[in-house]
């Protein structure tokens, strides 16, 4: 399959300035990161605070430009200023705080914002706004003011504002971090629909292991380097390595890990609750038979 985002030896430094505005120091945030995101995939990026995962995300649509190396979006170099709006239309970005992404005072006006910026015909805007709102299941709230909505609903409006542009990829920077459990579930369901039914590539930065477990691919970033890269099952079987870099594993995996430590012979690639429950159930059944 074709890759939609490609980074080649991406390196990024933050320059530190002193009070007079002179350069004093450089902080290396990302070192030699090379990765491909395939079109249509669902990738989760995990990492501890300060690991550089948000910085990496900001390179995917040219908000930040690499100090060294390059980033290609659909074959376009992000440092090509003349194509920046093509890049931003291809890769949309959703941020953590839904409140700080909504521009307009009415839901539908906000969803229309990107299309208005791109100079789309009014009738076409109307059609795409309605479509985007229906996709995230917020159509009936189109006349509401943002402050009347819950966190999860606001975040869905923010997502609608992005998908109205019809991007081929959406990068989400911890979209559920400020939401309650209900809002988190709503967003995860929406993200799944976008990926599965609409074929939109999703890159999701998160620190919730249970969310990462739902992706096709998990990339673990630590201190600006790619530590692990693989399917969720492969990644979460490295319980000790993950814990050593300050990350958790999904609760189901944690349970399996502890069972194994205490001497039970359990598989180490179980990552979701249902699988875990079924396995434990089968253990009990086996015990019954022995008696």
């Amino acid at each position: 399959m074709k890759e939609i985002i490609k980074t080649e030896k991406l390196t990024f430094d933050y320059t530190v300035y002193d009070e007079n505005g002179d350069e004093t120091d450089k902080n290396r945030v990302l070192t030699d990161i090379s990765l491909d995101i395939e079109e249509g995939s669902f990738t989760a990026v995990l990492g501890h605070n300060g690991s550089g995962k948000s910085t990496l995300a900001k390179h995917f649509n040219g908000i930040l430009l690499p100090t060294d190396g390059r980033v290609l979006v659909d074959g376009i170099d992000t440092s090509d200023e003349s194509r920046i709006y093509d890049i931003r239309q291809t890769v949309g970005m959703v941020f953590q705080n839904p409140d700080n992404q909504i521009v307009a005072t009415v839901v539908e006006e906000d969803v229309a914002f990107a299309l208005e910026n791109l100079g789309v015909e009014p009738k076409e805007i109307r059609r795409r706004v309605d479509e985007a709102l229906k996709t995230v299941d917020m159509y009936e709230y189109r006349k509401h003011a943002p402050h009347q909505l819950s966190g999860g609903q606001k975040q869905r409006v923010a997502i609608a504002g992005i998908i109205a542009m019809r991007p081929r990829c959406i990068v989400m920077d911890e979209p559920t971090a400020m939401l309650d459990p209900k809002g988190r579930k709503e967003i995860m369901a929406t993200v799944k629909t976008l990926n599965r039914d609409y074929g939109i590539t999703v890159v999701m930065i998160t620190h919730y292991m249970d969310e990462a477990a739902k992706a096709d691919r998990v990339i673990v970033i630590d201190k600006g380097n790619i530590l692990l890269d693989g399917t969720p099952k492969q990644i979460f079987s490295n319980v000790e390595l993950l814990k050593s870099v300050g990350l958790d594993v999904p609760q189901a995996t944690e349970l399996m890990y502890e069972l194994k430590k205490s001497g039970l012979d359990v598989p180490d690639d179980i990552i979701d609750e249902n699988e875990c429950a079924e396995y434990i159930y089968s253990l009990f059944c086996a015990d019954d038979k022995e008696q």
């Binding site: 649509n61 908000i63 709006y85 931003r88 239309q89 949309g92 970005m93 941020f95 705080n97 409140d99 700080n100 992404q101 909504i102 521009v103 307009a104 005072t105 009415v106 539908e108 006006e109 229309a112 914002f113 990107a114 299309l115 208005e116 910026n117 791109l118 100079g119 789309v120 015909e121 009014p122 805007i125 109307r126 706004v129 003011a145 943002p146 402050h147 923010a158 504002g161 992005i162 542009m165």
Partner: protein, 273 residues
């Protein structure tokens, strides 16, 4: 407590006044103000008042709102009245003489005239904000001012700022509430003491509020950039303002009203002013 603040004074409705094109409403409101200042005697002023009353009836807004809109402006009206009452000197004998103060007939009539004029002015302005949503108003202002673009006046930026301000008022009010509660929980005393003490007590509320507002602004700017915001050039709008028959009728009615006022001014000897 802060949540009770209403944003704008818009009262949604479906009346003919609500449905007028917001651009026309702004222009007609300006015409009404001009008309009020053209009215030179009590007859024409009364006529303008009756006209506004009919508009209120058409818009189906509760009459109580008229008084509500007048309340904050009351001190100004009283002040103007008193100034006119005491300082205008007539040719006839004063009505009252109290030490160095003397009140003349001319002063009394002018002061009443001015008061009525200011009251009509406020009522006329508030009918606009009562029947037009802030979004429509912003849109209308952007479009009405758009000729100024030639003079490099930042029309689009102004409208964008108004929209963002309107959008963030409820968010920031909520935040203020939160910060106040947090500071109270740490023993801050926000409700008692004199004016100076109260103002000083607000500092620990305002500083975190400002810090957070700046943070929000920077995040919003980033989100806007991600959605291809590049200023007003080449921008389209989803909602197009459309004017129709009713707007033309409204302009016609306004024209007739101004003519009537002018006729009244001419036919009845101009009083005082």
């Amino acid at each position: 407590m802060l949540k009770d603040i209403t944003i704008g004074q818009y009262f949604p409705g479906e009346s003919i006044i609500h449905r007028l094109d917001s651009r026309f409403k702004i222009i007609l409101d300006i015409a009404y103000v001009v008309m009020l200042f053209m009215a030179g005697n009590f007859y024409s002023l009364a006529m303008a008042g009756v006209f506004m009353l009919i508009i209120y009836m058409l818009s189906r807004i509760s009459f109580r709102l008229i008084f509500k809109s007048l309340r904050p402006i009351m001190p100004v009206i009283v002040f103007t009245c008193l100034l006119n009452l005491f300082f205008i000197q007539g040719e006839s004998e004063p009505l009252v003489r109290l030490g160095f103060i003397s009140i003349y007939m001319e002063g009394a009539t002018t002061s009443v005239f001015m008061a009525v004029r200011i009251i009509f002015l406020i009522i006329g302005m508030s009918v606009l904000t009562y029947t037009t949503s802030p979004i429509e108003l912003t849109d209308a202002i952007e479009r009405l001012l758009s000729p100024l673009k030639v003079l490099r006046f930042p029309v689009h930026e102004l409208a964008m700022m108004m929209t963002i301000a309107l959008r963030f008022i409820p968010t920031l009010i909520e935040e203020t509430d939160k910060i106040m509660s947090a500071q109270k929980a740490r023993g801050a005393n926000l409700d008692t003491g004199g004016l100076v003490k109260k103002a000083k007590a607000l500092i620990p509320v305002l500083i975190p509020l400002f810090v957070s507002a700046f943070k929000r602004a920077s995040e919003l700017a980033l989100a806007m950039e991600c959605r291809c915001y590049k200023g007003g050039d080449g921008r389209t709008r989803m909602k197009q303002l459309k004017w129709g028959m009713r707007d033309i009728v409204a302009v016609f009615v306004m024209g007739v009203m101004i003519a009537v006022i002018v006729l009244l001014n001419i036919s009845i000897p101009i009083f005082g002013l």
